[in-house]
Symmetry: C2
Subunit: 358 residues, 2 copies
């Protein structure tokens, strides 16, 4: 890629949406904070997306959201499983608590619907495998909602890294932290329920550096070590902080931290034999993503502009469905992360290095 | 500290040199690359330092350096131990290969000389303990040559962190990497000899994020995990890469990487409950050190200017000696790092978390 093309192509898609104005009609399964604040507005802005069915246990909220977003139907969770309004949507966006993903993805797959499932796919590798199998058996698309993988800047960066722009990747350091609970925050939320969430900061935010690194270097970890820490009683059963390290095939390794109890931060640095990639800020949605590439003493700073990661995520999924293309962040990709997360928790529990087998 | 004082005080010393023009006369024990390129010029620029005796096994090089730096004596290693020219110096700067530090520090201490010893103090905790004991028994000052701890910017940052500028520290991520061996580099150097170096990238460069973090937060690790990797035969017996994590008392933890086989990098990020400190570049000598403090959505960027870390290191040591003040990076400080390094290697070897006891 020549230098001029960075200006013209860096922020551009490297995939083709449908040429016509066809749309994927979504059932939104779980209408919590993220669906309301991020997913429904993104779908509303999409050229190839529309939200037609809202699945929620809160009929009143469902009515309000349906009115705000021009959705046709509000159905309950059991109704969804029974196939209510199934003629009115083509795909399900599953954004329930993590431990409920499997049952709704299975239901959608049985109805022949394509699925965009939030990360992590599920709360254990066994359950994530069942999800992947259910979608494969039904012949439906399963995409894991890794918005990073649909951001043009990160997609181009992956190509550059695969082309050797920083030489052979040697190690990464990264973090993702938020203050989930302020002093007076409501601790009554599913992210703090170990049965529903399947974990703490790792499954919610630490998964971003994990998946983004795997995507950029196109390698999966072969061993992990980890330690969890919790300093606040409200996090009982889900870790507040986690520090983990990943060993990849060859020389590559990574050191990562994530926290629910720290000041906002999302740093990502990848060092190779010949150069460096820094993404800053790396993971927050609707942020001004900046990429710094260093090589031979020169730094190339690429401003990704404000990310449209969530808009892109839905458009990318819809385009994959409409053009019969397999998405990059497929079910197998999501499953690798859940297996890695299981191993990270096992390593933290035992204090021992845990190997990941194929 | 009010905002104006940052401009006037940030780059200033927070310790007092002697008011007179007294000088510490140094014997330079080991005249390798670092002594020649960095230490002797720094001593030459110092107000309270002078190099009077050069200790080397290479008489010809010693003569050349003595001539260039106005040193009075060139003596061999055995002569130094025997007390040759001991009336001509007050303190020894020991910059031999790591595994030789103990014998020369012991010799200096027995001669009643104060000691500035390069990091790591020695190649095992047992040997470092003997060194610390020898200096205590002789009543001489022992300072570990951690130049970070003498940089005004880092010293002020430590005060701000202790004052709570980022709240309670929660975690750090950091790295330090260099390309030690280019394609045609000479692998015949003591850093690649496990007996002389006592380790690879960790003891040489990974020790910087370790010590700087300990200094900034004023805590010592209580447990470690680690993994080493070596992808190049020339590093046989000393690790090329290491990834390690540190657990501190309370909620604090850290994830660190260091490498001899990667593109230059030295990133340091410390996240607290209320804010963030980033030092960039963090560890290279004679670099333009920049400090970014973030809190409540505002970033304060403090330009430390080009570091004078090595000049400051010698002036600080000399001032401590001349004013009878205990240095911050004393022998006990250096010993904690050697104990931690021992534990990190044990953890890497076993794949298990290793606890550090007092």
């Amino acid at each position: 890629m020549d230098i001029e093309s960075y200006f013209t192509e860096f922020g551009a898609r490297n995939w083709e949406p449908p040429a016509d104005d066809s749309k994927v009609r979504f059932a939104i399964v779980g209408c919590g904070w993220f669906a309301e604040e991020f997913a429904l507005p993104a779908i509303g802005r999409g050229d190839h997306c529309t939200a037609t069915v809202l699945v929620t246990g809160d009929a009143e909220k469902g009515s309000r959201l349906a009115s705000e977003h021009d959705a046709d139907h509000v159905v309950g969770y059991d109704e969804f499983k029974d196939g209510t309004a199934s003629d009115s949507y083509d795909a399900a966006y599953v954004s329930t608590p993590n431990a409920l993903h499997l049952e709704f993805v299975e239901a959608a797959a049985e109805l022949g619907k394509d699925v965009l499932c939030e990360k992590p796919l599920e709360v254990s590798a066994g359950r994530a495998e069942r999800m992947v199998d259910a979608c494969a058996d039904a012949g439906v698309t399963l995409m894991t909602a890794y918005r990073q993988q649909t951001e043009p800047g990160i997609r181009h960066m992956r190509e550059l890294i695969q082309d050797g722009i920083i030489g052979t990747p040697v190690y990464a350091i990264g973090d993702f932290s938020i203050t989930l609970l302020g002093r007076d925050a409501d601790a009554d939320q599913w992210r703090l329920d170990p049965d529903l969430a399947g974990g703490g900061s790792l499954v919610d935010i630490g998964i971003y550096p994990l998946n983004t690194l795997r995507y950029l270097i196109d390698e999966d970890p072969v061993a992990v070590q980890a330690e969890t820490k919790t300093s606040d009683d409200r996090y009982e059963g889900v870790e507040e902080h986690i520090t983990f390290q990943l060993s990849f095939p060859g020389r590559m390794s990574a050191a990562v931290a994530s926290s629910y109890g720290a000041s906002l931060d999302d740093t990502f640095v990848l060092i190779g034999t010949e150069g460096k990639l820094e993404i800053d800020p790396a993971f927050f949605p609707e942020a001004e993503r900046t990429f710094h590439l260093e090589r031979d003493g020169t730094t190339l700073t690429l401003d990704g502009g404000e990310t449209t990661g969530i808009d892109e995520e839905f458009e990318y999924f819809a385009s994959c469905v409409l053009t019969d293309t397999a998405p990059d962040p497929d079910g197998a990709d999501g499953l690798v992360d859940v297996r890695t997360i299981d191993a990270i928790y096992e390593a933290a529990e035992s204090g021992e290095r845990v190997e990941l087998s194929d």
